[in-house]
């Protein structure tokens, strides 16, 4: 499982790196970026799901 950000949809709402700083970071404009390869370890599945469910721009997806 991995998390993906659609950079075209991201506007820097800041929810993903607030909820799951283990999986997401921000760039110098405040847009969300995926940390590393975005792979979600079992203990972070819930946080990944919440990051997806809280993005107002629907910019985050989870790929199995």
């Amino acid at each position: 499982m991995k998390v993906v950000i659609n950079a075209d949809a991201c506007t820097g709402q800041g929810r993903c790196f607030g909820i799951a700083p283990e999986l997401f970071d921000f760039d110098d404009l405040g847009n969300g970026v995926v940390k590393g390869d975005g792979k979600v370890t079992p203990e972070l599945v819930e946080k990944a799901r919440l990051a997806e469910a809280n993005c107002p721009e629907h910019a985050i997806s989870i790929e199995e």
């Binding site: 506007t11 709402q13 800041g14 607030g18 404009l29 405040g30 993005c55 107002p56 721009e57 629907h58």
Partner: protein, 402 residues
């Protein structure tokens, strides 16, 4: 103010966001409009529309072809194509349209990125504690006029590098721009001229004495190797002051208003501090302070409504946040709501540039207030007032703290 105008009888055909009923409790109005319209209309302000659902608010926010941001505060001063410096607008980037918008926004975003903003946390915390200290041993304090309003004012004053003694004047500038929606066009213009003179004076002071603050940052900023035009610098400073102050002030005061009336939520926040982050998002959803505006860019049909060029559209993010199509139990405040795709900071390319700062101020303000006063209640609910217009929040907020 609004007392000179007839009261609204039907918000579907004659809405007015300055009507006393809308100001005191807009939520039932929006719920009614969602089921009945869902796009309301009014001939006031020269003609305006109000989409009340999340779907339609979202569609307007993301459609920069049919809707322009050249003016985002709906008033009787209806700008025409000649009045506004296209494509910059009066307060870039909020009043800018593509393609200039992206340039103006890219310029300011680094100053408001989480990395920069998070470093301000200690000074925001210290500011909150100074305000709480100033309350002394009073049994009744004012959560609005003694606390909430001075937090963003203090933060923005430091950020722009303006004199501390001008704080009361900043408040007046904000109130002039946002609360005087029923003033005449002449009065609004006179106020704008006065404010511009003040900003020019501050800019000259920064030219003479450059320092490490947002004003100097703007004066040094370049677009394609050229320094910004004076109109651009002043516009962005006005935006920082106006958009950065009573928005956050309103979010803080409405959150305290909620906690003063909901002892269970207050107790949970005091006893479960780890809830704060989700609680802050629910405060933002439930009491979203900011309604934006757009002008219709060209005649077109929107959801069956014949929109004409230069009609206003009131962009109700707070209404979208209460749409039951998107939020379960939308009209319930749920302090531990984990799934909360709220749009308090807007949607699309105009997402509030200061959202990271606003969120931090709101969180720190609530944390410090409840640390100082773990139990408190509304002193006199009838005395609580709410701001009229596009930024909604509790203004007079008497709170009994002991």
């Amino acid at each position: 103010m609004s007392h000179t105008k007839p009261l609204v009888e039907d918000f579907a055909t004659d809405f007015d966001h300055a009507d006393p009923q809308w100001v005191s409790d807009p939520y039932p109005i929006w719920e009614d409009l969602r089921t009945r319209c869902p796009v309301a209309h009014t001939n006031r302000y020269g003609g305006a529309w109000f989409p009340a659902t999340h779907e339609l608010v979202s569609r307007v926010a993301k459609d920069t072809e049919n809707f322009t941001s050249r003016s985002v505060v709906m008033s009787n001063l209806r700008p025409t194509d000649e009045d506004l410096p296209a494509p910059i607008g009066i307060a870039p980037p909020i009043t800018s349209d593509p393609p200039f918008h992206a340039i103006a926004r890219r310029l300011v975003l680094p100053a408001f990125s989480p990395g920069v903003v998070n470093a301000l946390e200690p000074q925001i915390r210290a500011l909150c504690n100074r305000l709480l200290d100033d309350m002394g041993d009073a049994a009744v304090v004012n959560g609005g006029t003694q606390f909430a309003q001075y937090i963003p004012v203090g933060v923005i004053q430091q950020m722009l590098g303006f004199p501390l003694e001008d704080i009361e004047m900043f408040l007046q500038i904000v109130i002039d721009v946002l609360d005087s929606i029923d003033s005449s066009a002449e009065d609004r213009q006179a106020t704008a001229d006065k404010n511009r003179a003040y900003f020019e004076k501050q800019i000259q002071d920064h030219v003479d004495n450059p320092r490490d603050d947002f004003t100097s940052y703007l004066l040094n900023a370049e677009i394609a190797g050229t320094k910004l035009e004076l109109d651009h610098v002043i516009g962005t400073m006005v935006l920082t002051l106006v958009a950065g102050i009573d928005t956050t002030w309103s979010a803080i005061s409405s959150s305290l208003w909620h906690l003063a009336q909901n002892p269970d939520d207050l107790a949970r926040l005091v006893n479960e501090p780890e809830l704060m982050d989700v609680a802050v998002e629910e405060f933002l959803r439930f009491y979203a302070p900011v309604t934006m505006a757009r002008l219709v860019a060209k005649d077109h049909d929107f959801n069956g409504c014949p929109m004409k060029k230069d009609d206003w559209v009131l962009l109700g993010f707070p209404a979208a946040n209460r749409d039951p199509e998107v939020f379960e139990d939308a009209d319930k405040f749920i302090i531990d709501r984990r799934e909360n795709r709220h749009v308090a900071f807007g949607l699309g390319i105009h997402r509030c540039a200061g959202s990271n700062l606003a969120r931090l101020e709101l969180k720190v303000a609530i944390q410090e207030f409840i640390k100082r006063f773990p139990t408190f209640t509304l002193e006199n609910p009838n005395e609580v007032t709410f701001s009229p217009g596009q930024v909604r929040g509790a203004r007079n907020l008497p709170i009994r703290v002991k």
